[in-house]
């Protein structure tokens, strides 16, 4: 039975639950918007990293550089799209 539950997976699971609890603090505790957003951003991206590297084995195969390049390319374009649109539609919009 024990070999079916490797430490890597179990620890990863516990860690992701822990991150969720930390993220939940923005709901239960009283804090400023910027602190709360920082907490959410940090926990969400760490959580994504845990999934990507621990669970999805992104770095295990011969194609790991292609896989990482694709992912980082996607994430950077995604972030530019999100913030560029916010700039265009909200922060920098005059009407």
């Amino acid at each position: 039975m024990k070999e079916l539950f490797p430490m890597k997976q179990v620890n990863g699971f516990i860690f992701s639950l822990l991150l969720t609890v930390i993220a939940l603090s923005v709901y239960f505790l009283d804090m400023s918007f910027s602190v709360a957003m920082t907490i959410l951003l940090v926990t969400a991206f760490i959580q994504a990293g845990v999934q990507l590297i621990l669970f999805m084995h992104a770095g295990e195969s011969e194609d790991k550089s292609s896989i990482y390049t694709t992912t980082f390319y996607a994430i950077s374009i995604a972030l530019f799209t999100v913030f560029g649109s916010l700039l265009a539609m909200i922060w920098g919009y005059m009407f």
């Binding site: 079916l4 939940l24 804090m31 959410l40 994504a48 999934q51 999805m56 996607a74």
Partner: protein, 198 residues
């Protein structure tokens, strides 16, 4: 076809390795798909018209249940891949089955949640905000639904043919998909629900 026995089953043929890389590239496209939904969500977040805002309609309990269910299912699909790699077909099917059950439980909770929104007057048509909220959640939910069918097909194939290199490959790719949906949910949980409720 050449089978390379030094590699795990899901990587053992050239086509298998191609499939896995191809699916990663697809996930890159999925990142942009959900990024577009998030972009739109952030733009529409405060454009509530005469409808309710996020703080008015979000409930922490179903959201927490959904989050824990999905995190757990991400864990169990990871265990399924591990079991597959140590050749424990039976254990693998059990873990895969549990994952699918958890997926169904997630969907049931989400349906409850949607029903709640309907009853508090937050429908697709109510405002820009409710429209994009339900579209984003719905797109994720549709992915989970598709995953349920896909996973069931894989289970049936394992029952029928055992863990061949092709089926191991499909199972591994399914696990990538499922983990990815969990990642998307983490972002929904953080930047739609928690941000909306705090």
């Amino acid at each position: 076809m050449k089978i390379d026995h030094s590699q795990p089953l899901e990587y053992s043929t050239e086509q298998n390795r191609l499939n896995i890389l191809g699916f990663w590239i697809f996930l890159g496209a999925e990142i942009m798909l959900f990024a577009t939904l998030f972009t739109s969500y952030f733009v529409y977040e405060d454009r509530i018209g005469s409808g309710p805002s996020g703080a008015d309609i979000f409930e922490i309990t179903p959201v927490l249940i959904e989050t824990i269910i999905l995190l757990t299912s991400s864990f169990t699909i990871g265990l399924a891949v591990h079991a597959m790699r140590i050749n424990r077909t039976k254990a693998m099917t059990v873990f895969l089955g549990i994952t699918l059950l958890l997926g169904a439980a997630f969907l049931a909770t989400e349906i409850y949640e949607f029903n709640h929104y309907y009853h508090v007057g937050a429908t697709l048509q109510t405002s820009g905000f409710t429209g994009i909220l339900l579209t984003t959640l719905g797109t994720h939910g549709a992915h989970v639904t598709l995953g349920l069918f896909w996973g069931t097909m894989i289970l049936m194939q394992i029952k029928k043919r055992g863990l061949t290199p092709q089926i191991a490959n499909k199972s591994f790719i399914f696990s990538l998909y499922w983990h990815f949906l969990d990642v998307v949910w983490i972002f929904i949980f953080s930047f739609i629900y928690l941000k909306g409720m705090m």
